[in-house]
Assembly symmetry: C2
């Protein structure tokens, strides 16, 4: 008997290292015969609980300077287009609510990659209606309707629930991955998370 | 004409992820035909400038809990012995001063591995004379003399200078690596740092 293997991908559209992870995760998951489940959450809420009211990359300049150079090198090595956004972090709330409101839809992976590309390769404001509708174009019949629905109570409640669940899981940064109850943090752990086997399967 | 390739390994004996990096770096450097230069510094001084008066792994429990589990998994995957120290962080000042006072000595790499092993595999207090003299045993003729010399002005001044240099280089965590002027942070970047070529060599 084979059980379907699942890895949860916990991400925030503002998160820098989530960008290369989002771009690579679906292909890598397919190779590992893992189904990737997309779980957007609001990292800022978790940061605030730690006393950070901005990205730690902005609060601690040495860390921030390093991160931008590291991300540039990383994307170059992975052949992923990268342009440092003129504003960081960007507001990814509506994009995250679109994912929450359409959980399980086939187009979520492609939409997620499009939003990350808009933020980190095209320097576009992913909070804007025209940018998000552009990302939805070709994926859904009515981009404007999907955009509007993301502002409803249901979508907002789902994103809040995701963020609470992330905290309960011990998540403190993005991207994070959960496979068989094990938490992995950072783009650098994507392959390890996908390859992880639960103790029962060993 | 071949120029010798050098990677600087910036570390603090209290730093958890520096442990697997220290254990693996000499072999990996040899394979890459890189000479590893050991650069101890005091990470606590840099943390204090960021407003942290303890390890961030202690200040932020979710991050700390994750780190210990991640380190355990990492060491298991790399077949490096690991036992969570009963006290963290441990005081590595004298050990660092021993390295500073004996810069360039052949036995530094082995001494460094022994101190990390004492801290992270044997749960021993690396601030203690008997532990450090034990680590020096078999490497130097007179462990007690080397231990005493590390308390001199010269050794202390060198460690302070290293820490100031680390800050000037933009170092904010350990381990960090510098190859051809490029900064790399974290055990996860050890291989990338060793493989890095300066722009001139490309």
């Amino acid at each position: 008997m084979t059980t379907e293997k699942i890895t949860e991908f916990w991400f925030d559209f503002a998160s820098t290292y989530s960008y290369p992870a989002a771009m690579r995760s679906e292909d890598l998951a397919a190779k590992c015969h893992v189904r990737m489940v997309w779980r957007p959450f609001v990292l800022g809420v978790i940061f605030e609980k730690q006393g950070w009211y901005d990205s730690p990359f902005n609060i601690y300049p040495a860390k921030g300077n390093y991160m931008w150079r590291d991300l540039e090198r990383l994307c170059a090595a992975l052949a992923i287009p990268f342009r440092k956004p003129s504003r960081f972090p960007r507001n990814g709330l509506t994009a995250a609510r679109i994912v929450c409101a359409n959980e399980g839809a086939q187009w979520i992976a492609e939409f997620t990659r499009k939003v990350y590309t808009a933020n980190f390769a095209q320097d576009r404001d992913i909070a804007k209606r025209e940018v998000l509708c552009g990302c939805l174009q070709g994926l859904v019949d009515d981009p404007a309707a999907v955009f509007e629905a993301a502002h409803g109570k249901e979508a907002k409640a789902r994103l809040r629930a995701n963020t609470e669940r992330a905290m309960a899981l011990g998540i403190f940064g993005a991207p994070s991955f959960i496979t068989a109850g094990e938490l992995f943090w950072g783009h650098d752990r994507l392959e390890t998370a996908l390859a992880w086997q639960s103790a029962e399967q060993d």
